[in-house]
Assembly symmetry: D2
Homo-oligomer: 365 residues x 4
């Protein structure tokens, strides 16, 4: 497996270039007997789709998933689920101008250094379009999690300098989808949208942060010492295009705390300890994970996205002969990747959670 | 592999509990023909060892590595390298008092929830003592990297609120090992040490940040889309005990930047492009990685550590019957984990780099 | 990876049911820079296709491969190669009669016992139709092997009691494709064909053996102690539908030999030892593999196939309520699977050889 | 994992050279809560030990297993089980005479071709001594299988030309351990022993076959299409030193049968179908596996072993300069490997069965 498979028991293998024939993937290890709500899968894809609002790219792609195997009469059979999403927007000529040029902070140069060849059309495999396959895999994973009472909700918590300061418990996450930037606080959402629009006018781009919370996780998920639950969540997030950082629980701020402040004290509970993790803690600086294993509290983490590299401004760079050239971005790009990345963060989190849910089934005799 | 193996081609599998017979591991996939400098391996272990200074735990463990296989006349043979580090400090009685108690922010409860049983002596498998095996694996990895001109250097860059603000290029990293806190700036180091000593006196603990820089990496390492170089570095770091966050390049601060500021412009170079990545960039917000593949610039990242959970203060908690109890920390613990974690960060980074170095050998026909 | 991926560095993941929308797969880890001869791939598929002669099934399927990714301007880019082969022959009604019945020596019962559900149309995932995806993967692998001077040739060496007794070195393997049964000895081929025709007339089926020889392998392929070259070849063959046995070199007959007869004596050579394995042995009872590693001699092995389970005769069996029922085979089936399995044996062997070729690249410093 | 790990969820990683410090391994993925009967593990090792009878090698090795981790108060904790078996018989001088010589049909040449270096003492890693670690892993696996009512029994069924013709159901397998050759038929056993003694007197060696039967397997184990139950059993057996072939169920003889004879007809049963695979078949040519998945019937297979390569006779060969030399075997070797390989076959079979038992836990929602 050369880098295009994710997960150990619930495995997603993906393929596809931005301007190739199709994107797609194979989900192997999906338990049999799951009813597949194809509408739900498609809706998840639609959340990621370009052209949903004024602040995202206006490219037109219908992004319709076609399932090819593994589902019989609407139910998973335990065999691999193959799927494709056809690419409709293949204009090879559009990309002649970047054929020999290394776009700054893109993967043009590194792919060529690695492979000696690259599909330069729209970034090829390095395009964020690759994430459509992740969203399909993640949607199937979410259907499994739903059966176990586990929910995964991500939202935009920062755009540039504009931060959502409220704690997740003070937010109404049902409002995340009500605005274009996917921030559950309407007032902050409006400011973020305005900010992105201003940035966009200048042909520039801006970064942001996505927060994610997972509820309903039973205690016991995670496989130390290397496959700690948060380590795989971190890898999952860092594998998404444009991500520069990951923190969970108290995160980077936690380093300033003392142990006496940071420790999550266990509290006595009427119900006592059960398999569902009813031991509770007073605080949750641990972010629902202790020693790499879920403790039943909410899991929460934050993911940092850099500003999109494709700017609509003139830039200096070099070509593949090492000569200085000047380039000017064109095409239809997002000024901020964060709003469309919300469903991708959720998809990757769902893949991790299902994988560890399955892995946990063999922990005890 | 149930969570105790790391790496795909250069694989470290570890075993061992804090108070069991021995810690140890198996390195599989080490290329044949490497001269093993056992003194160097032992020195790396010594860097991690307790009792090195007044600010770390005073436990006495000699931590001597014994190689059992895979090395013949001082040279690796390509067969698996088995090794052990015997535990000398096994006092079972010391731990009777925590047998039935869930220590706050430790892994007592989660291990028991997962496995239905736990080795409560010193935290068992969840103890940071587990990392001795990582340091041995990392030391072998460093010997390989040395042959390729790649260096890995970590250092303490923050303790509590005390930050080292200097950029890595303004630091003399040869000074990292000259002080107890492993901060290459002597003045800041002194302040950090003083701060840890003050915290320690109150029986409390404090968190910190370790920065790491990798130089000499050829362009082309990393296996997108899931096994991006920084994604595996992130997972490696997050798998270390007490880590709460990881960021590389511009990291979390980068979200505030505009694309026009953040993009790393390629610069014309006399030498032109070569296999060693002599295409250069003016800035390095990318942290040496673009699209998940190294570009030949320095790779740098930061790792956040929470305050140590073992405090020498009275704490409320519950026992395994769900009853409220009061506990008081005893034993010999670090007031700040960061100084001793520096060699662990380096070890894990070295393991990742060697794995990707080997994986890159099959990228082209 | 839950059983539908094969290979460690050169990985084929497949999906698809006999009567689903499409068969397909993903090849991950194919080195960049390989020119893909799509005609060759299609020809390999055509060798496996039904309806080629009177002795094989007369089902009509065009089995046209469509590549979806990983190839740009006819050359592999190092990114995953997705492909599909559409199913054209989907007649759901044809299979209503076996919906509730467990066909003897088919996988109906075991799939249902395992998954609680099965796609009963044409055997679903357990159909030998699944092997189309292996042939595509194997064809790409063969293109890589060709660049390294390695050839893989299989042929029918037994049908029922009719054996080809000649040693591989006394055969002209270019004649394998000249007859319907794929036996390079024309006289024996004719007898085999006649035998299969006779069997077919009675509505019965017959087993057979495929021999395979791999030439041009450099010394040094294979990864002991578990991933011995012949162990993975064996697994590859045993994973093909209807296979019941595998032997290499002297095989089962070798157990009767004495060590003094069986040992392959090394012989002095003018050219001396080189990287291409020019140390030679007088005999080759080892089948080109010693200690799980290729020694440069020809690798040869034999694969036993049971008679096809689908017979055109009345059979007693039970239904999924455990009741005795009588069934009568219908549809278009092979009376002997061996002729069409020859390209499948080659495909699986090629996949193994490329995987070990790539794995060997990191054996030495 | 570079070839020294076996299994996906229940993973055994081994290390050690014949004349290194120690053999050993790590079992990862063992469910928590298993009581480890260390006496049983040691007895399994003793079955494999040299010096048990006149027909096996007279080397003295105590082969005492030491568990280092993963077991607490006699019970597995779910953490990795590290273990070692110290080598006592390290006489380096004994091997000076083969330092530069390639022994015929040994792995001397291939290891050197692969790695450029070899530990020539006693065959190093390629020595069958490596299998001690497999026996330890297999013994733990057997303890798990026992809890599930699954038994694994192997026995010698052929030595040279001397065959045990009786079917497994006509044998009393409790007699296997009553004689030195491990054949459950006393009369045949005696003939085999006599034959081996005769061969030994001439300084020669002889091959043989081990049969194995697994009872009590529930229906549903095996992970098609690649990880078929018999495919992994085959790989497991072929990975044992000196093995040249594997067949299950009707095996190579089955190729001569017609489908109407070979098909295993399902029979009506009072108890009806249950999770324990109470659907039964009249015959069992399938060897308990259909479509790569167990059907609840007995699983049986046969493993072919070549004659031991170390003969006590003069042999021609070459040295590592390519020069013809003459060598004469010395040391203490088995004249027939089969008796001591019986526990190894069982160990590998047990590892496979536990792995698939664990893998099957996630097949259904």
């Amino acid at each position: 497996m050369s880098g295009n498979s994710f997960g150990k028991l619930f495995t997603l293998t993906t393929f596809g270039e931005s301007h190739g024939v199709a994107m797609g993937g194979v989900i192997d290890g999906c338990p049999a007997g799951l009813t597949v709500d194809v509408d739900f899968v498609q809706k998840e894809l639609d959340r990621r789709k370009p052209g949903q609002s004024s602040i995202v790219t206006q490219r037109k792609e219908s992004d319709t998933v076609e399932f090819l195997s593994g589902i019989f009469n609407g139910i998973t059979t335990g065999t691999p689920i193959g799927f494709i999403i056809k690419n409709e927007n293949q204009k090879e000529k559009d990309y002649e101008h970047i054929k020999d040029v290394y776009r700054p902070s893109h993967a043009d140069y590194t792919y060529e250094a690695k492979y000696g060849i690259r599909d330069y059309r729209g970034g090829g495999r390095s395009s964020a379009r690759e994430t459509v396959s992740r969203v399909v895999g993640g949607a199937i994973a979410k259907l499994i999690l739903k059966q176990h009472g586990i929910t995964v909700n991500a939202y935009t918590s920062q755009v540039g300098e504009i931060k959502l300061l409220k704690d997740v418990h003070d937010l109404d996450l049902t409002k995340t989808e009500t605005n274009a930037v996917r921030c559950p606080d309407e007032l902050i959402a409006e400011t973020m949208i305005h900010h992105i629009e201003q940035i966009k006018k200048t042909g520039d781009t801006i970064g942001g942060i996505i927060s994610c919370v997972i509820t309903g996780t039973p205690a016991g998920l995670g496989e130390p010492v290397f496959d700690k639950l948060h380590a795989d969540l971190g890898k999952a997030m860092l594998s998404i295009n444009a991500v520069k950082g990951f923190e969970f629980g108290s995160g980077f701020e936690g380093v300033k705390m003392k142990g006496s402040e940071h420790n999550d004290v266990f509290v006595e509970s009427e119900e006592r300890r059960t398999e569902n993790g009813e031991v509770r803690t007073k605080t949750n600086h641990s972010g629902g994970i202790q020693g790499g294993i879920s403790n039943g509290e909410d899991i929460y983490f934050r993911v940092a996205f850099k500003p999109v590299a494709s700017i609509m401004q003139k830039q200096d760079t070099i070509n593949n002969k090492g000569e200085a050239v000047e380039m000017h971005g064109k095409g239809r790009h997002d000024a901020c990747v964060v709003p469309r990345a919300v469903p991708i963060v959720e998809a990757m989190a769902a893949l991790v959670m299902v994988d560890f849910l399955l892995r946990s089934k063999t922990n005890k005799m």
